[in-house]
């Protein structure tokens, strides 16, 4: 039995459908990420789960209880859901001390004094904030403030932690560090994480499963590895990692690039609808250079990026292709022609 269940969840703002018939199940203790470009509906989904937005249709169940259902005219307000939540903009209360920020949810629940102190101290210790507890959060750095927000969310020891782009206000170095701290806290406290981000690296590093969304529609739910290696469609392919797309023409059932034909190893798979347009997709890191044969191209730009070398190639029909190789591997120079071997090509028709 999954812990969180979203059934046909739909949200409309006026004419715009922000989330469309989303079905989702999240296990206890799982780390689940919602990934997508801005406006894809991921934040709206999280806010519906938190209770800040009501649903237009569908149902949300958590831990076997009904949380939201417009059909039954039922809606549990956010303050009754017992979630922990961390926001992008920290949302730490500047008029309260760090300790009082963390103790706030415990005081609201009217716990005994000793219990409040024990839990708040525990949450502060877990986030390395004990030293700053008496001070104002205003004096903390961005990372420090976000730790206060985390500690505050931890204090009630929730089963579910909602994280709304919690790291995107931090600088890149700190972001990586905080990722591991969040993961560490999850191991210690055992809560499930529902994580909203537009940063794919963050989602990859943290999650057990990722959902990719686009314009309110779910595109794929899978493990990070599968989302990267077996993208469900062209959008997921382009959103995760670097990508090349080549437009493939079809004359009399034969696939080709421009007027030239494709090398034999790049024959489109059987069973594709014969008349739709075709796109060949591949990752820049999964292309090898060949001395002879393969797809022919000419290096139009070669840039040294440190560990890797980045090549821009122009194919014979004018389309361009990007290749990235480790700096220790040999490669052609600018202006030289070469052959290309696409190791793991993906084929997409215009429908997907």
């Amino acid at each position: 039995m999954p812990y969180i269940r979203l059934v046909n969840v739909t949200k409309r703002f006026g004419q715009v459908t922000a989330v469309n018939e989303l079905n989702l199940e999240i296990e206890k203790g799982e780390c689940f990420s919602m990934l997508g470009p801005s406006g894809c509906g991921k934040t709206t989904t999280l806010r519906m789960l938190a209770g800040f937005e009501d649903l237009s249709d569908g149902e949300i169940h958590v831990g076997g209880r009904l949380f939201s259902s417009p059909r039954q005219n039922f809606y549990l307000p956010p303050e009754k859901r017992d979630f922990g939540m961390v926001f992008q903009a920290f949302a730490v209360w500047p008029h309260l001390s760090v300790y009082e920020n963390v103790a706030f949810p415990l005081r609201i629940r009217k716990l005994p004094k000793a219990e409040i102190e024990r839990r708040a101290t525990d949450a502060l210790r877990s986030t390395n904030l004990l030293g700053a507890a008496a001070g104002s959060p205003e004096n903390l750095s961005g990372g420090g403030k976000q730790r206060v927000a985390l500690a505050r969310a931890l204090a009630i020891n929730p089963d579910v932690m909602l994280l709304d782009e919690p790291l995107s206000s931090l600088d890149p170095h700190l972001r990586e560090e905080m990722r591991f701290e969040i993961k560490e806290l999850q191991r210690k406290y055992g809560f499930a994480i529902v994580y909203v981000t537009h940063d794919q690296a963050e989602a990859m590093a943290l999650s057990d499963r990722i959902m990719v969304m686009r314009q309110g529609e779910m595109q794929q739910i899978d493990s990070p590895l599968n989302v990267y290696n077996n993208p469900a469609n062209r959008f997921v392919f382009s959103f995760i990692g670097l990508s090349n797309f080549l437009r493939v023409s079809r004359t009399d059932g034969h696939a080709g690039l421009g007027t030239g034909s494709l090398p034999t190893e790049l024959a489109p798979p059987e069973g594709l609808p014969p008349h739709s347009g075709l796109t060949l997709a591949s990752r820049p890191s999964e292309i090898d250079f060949l001395a002879q044969g393969g797809l022919r191209g000419k290096v139009s730009r070669k840039s040294f990026l440190g560990e890797i070398v980045d090549y821009h190639l122009r194919l014979e029909d004018g389309q361009s292709l990007r290749v990235q190789k480790n700096r220790r591997l040999p490669g052609p120079e600018e202006g030289e022609s070469c052959g290309l071997l696409l190791r793991r090509p993906f084929w997409y028709t215009d429908e997907n």
């Binding site: 209770g51 017992d82 903009a89 949302a91 209360w93 706030f104 949810p105 969310a153 909602l162 206000s169």
Partner: protein
């Protein structure tokens, strides 16, 4: 390039700095200084004993206490009313919130002494329309409410001053990051708890700063107390200063009393401004950030309709009713007649605009004084702000200090200081001319100009000028072609911030007018004092018309620019 290797802007910078300092010294610093000197310095020696004796005189002491009572009452009342309405229009599902917000800001443009006049017509114990109806038609023995009282003065001041708190708190609540409240909600707090423990504490610096602004204004406020208090002998500091100077035609003793009272006002004002700075600096919470989902609205449910009615009644009573009364009384043939069609006409308005010398002069004086003061103060303000905000010259600190002065000097103090400075003792005698009013207006409104212009200048990043210099422009060219066009909106704002209020100015001009140099405000006030109630009301109506039309035009213009 013809301007190779110029000597740099050092000479020019010094000249500008010197000029800026000179303007502020002559216009503001000397008058204020003269007040202190006259208060504490007698026959070439420091004399504190006399000052204490003057303060302990019954009338002066009572005026001080009255100023405090009225200011305390007004501040408390306005803060409660302003905060409540601000919360209502920003955090609840009250219907017609945008309209309400616009209406609650209307009192900003209505001159409070005209409001006081209207309330006098409505609630003076024997002649007020409401009281007459109460006693005559309904048959009660006692009047419903006597407006000639502390309560009356405080209530009228609250009506016209609460927007200072309202607008500050609205701003704070609208800018506040909604996730601050949402995180309290997800922590388990209900909306009432959130309002009490999160929203109000976070808005507290804004509430305090608005409250202090009202306190400053109310302590030094002339109009309402002059219209409503004198009948029952309620004087505050500014009205007592006026009364003393006016009655004794400038005798030494009365000037002495005036300067002592004015010194107290200046010190109190400085204290309030200092406190306000503290409140605001403590309030520089970083509460603006993040994605802006709209904050949750409290569902008023059963209270929705009663609160809507409350707001509408409040607006009807404090804004619509007084305004209508002014226009209607202005149309009456004689004060005291009932409002019937036979008794109403436009004759008073026609008479005042075209035939009556006193009011024609007054309108002309106010328009030309407003225009002159606005133009001069606008340009001086740009220059001074430029030095303070942008230039790196030695001696700038002096100017920064002087630039703070106009903010803390109340109108009646300026008037008294200007009398001391320009009555011929230290050079030209401008007393009884229109020029002394002009000088006083410049001093009074310099603060507005400095504020608007420095805000505009702070938006102009130094790199814009540097880029122009890098492209080969001289300092003057960069100023002319880059800085000036960018601060033009600030200058325009300064102009109107001065021009419109000066059309209804009373506090300063009442101390400085002569028979031929009445302003609109003075004419309304003196006509009313002389019992010419209908003419006074008609002129007030014309003033309201001018102000409201002007403000509407500016709002249109400002909207058109930003859209």
């Amino acid at each position: 390039m013809n301007n190779t290797a110029r000597k740099g802007g050092v000479g020019a910078a010094q000249i500008i700095l010197g000029l800026s300092i000179a303007i502020l010294v002559i216009v503001v610093a000397v008058p204020v200084l003269l007040i202190f000197v006259n208060a504490f310095w007698v026959d070439g020696a420091l004399n504190v004993k006399d000052v204490i004796r003057i303060i302990r005189e019954k009338d002066t002491y009572q005026a001080l206490v009255n100023s405090l009572i009225i200011a305390a009452g007004t501040t408390t009342g306005s803060t409660i009313v302003g905060t409540f309405f601000a919360w209502l229009v920003t955090r609840t599902d009250l219907p017609y919130k945008r309209f309400m917000k616009a209406m609650f800001l209307v009192p900003f443009m209505l001159p409070s002494f005209i409001g006081a006049l209207a309330w006098k017509m409505l609630l003076s114990p024997r002649a007020g329309f409401i009281n007459r109806f109460w006693m005559g038609t309904l048959g009660f023995e006692e009047p419903l409410f006597n407006i000639y009282s502390y309560a009356g003065i405080v209530l009228v001041e609250i009506m016209y001053l609460f927007p200072f708190v309202f607008i500050q708190v609205c701003g704070a609540l609208e800018r506040m990051d909604p996730t601050l409240e949402e995180s309290a909600r997800i922590s388990g707090a209900g909306l009432f708890t959130i309002t009490r423990k999160i929203t109000i504490p976070l808005a507290l610096p804004s509430i305090l700063s608005g409250a202090l602004l009202i306190m400053l204004y109310s302590m030094a406020h002339f109009g309402t107390v002059a219209v409503l208090g004198i009948e029952n002998g309620i004087f505050n500091i500014p009205t007592l200063i006026y009364q003393r100077i006016h009655q004794s035609a400038g005798s030494f003793a009365s000037i002495r009393t005036g300067t002592v009272l004015a010194s107290i006002l200046v010190m109190a004002a400085a204290l309030i401004i200092w406190l306000q700075g503290k409140a605001l600096s403590r309030g520089r919470y970083q509460i603006i950030a993040g994605k802006s989902f709209r904050p949750m609205e409290l569902k008023l449910r059963a209270l929705r309709l009663p609160l809507l009615i409350l707001c509408l009644v409040y607006i009807a009573f404090t804004i619509v009713l007084p305004t209508v009364v002014i226009f209607l009384v202005g149309g009456l043939k004689t004060y005291g007649l009932p409002f019937t069609w036979e008794n109403l006409s436009l004759d008073n308005y026609k008479f005042i605009l075209f035939d009556y010398q006193v009011t024609r002069d007054a309108i002309w004086n106010s328009l030309s004084l407003g225009l002159g003061a606005a133009l001069i103060t606008m340009f001086a303000g740009v220059m001074i702000s430029y030095v303070i905000v942008k230039m790196k010259v030695r001696g700038k600190g002096v100017l920064e200090f002087l630039g703070m002065l106009p903010f803390s000097v109340p109108g009646s103090v300026i008037a008294l200081g200007v009398i001391l400075a320009w009555s011929g003792r230290y050079g030209p005698n401008l007393y009884n001319t229109v020029w002394i009013i002009l000088v006083a207006y410049i001093a009074r409104y310099m603060a507005f100009s400095l504020k608007a212009n420095s805000a505009a200048l702070e938006q102009v990043h130094d790199s814009l000028v540097e880029a122009a210099r890098a492209c080969g422009a001289s300092m003057w060219q960069a100023l002319k072609d880059i800085v000036l066009p960018l601060v033009r909106p600030g200058m325009l704002a300064a102009f109107f911030l001065i021009f419109l209020p000066s059309l209804r100015e009373l506090t300063v001009s009442i101390m400085l007018y002569s028979p031929t140099t009445r302003t609109i405000g003075v004419a309304i006030y003196t006509l009313n004092e002389d019992g010419e109630t209908v003419r006074s009301a008609a002129l007030a109506g014309i003033a309201l018309f001018l102000i409201i039309t002007g403000q509407t035009l500016i709002n249109r213009f400002a909207k058109g620019r930003s859209a």
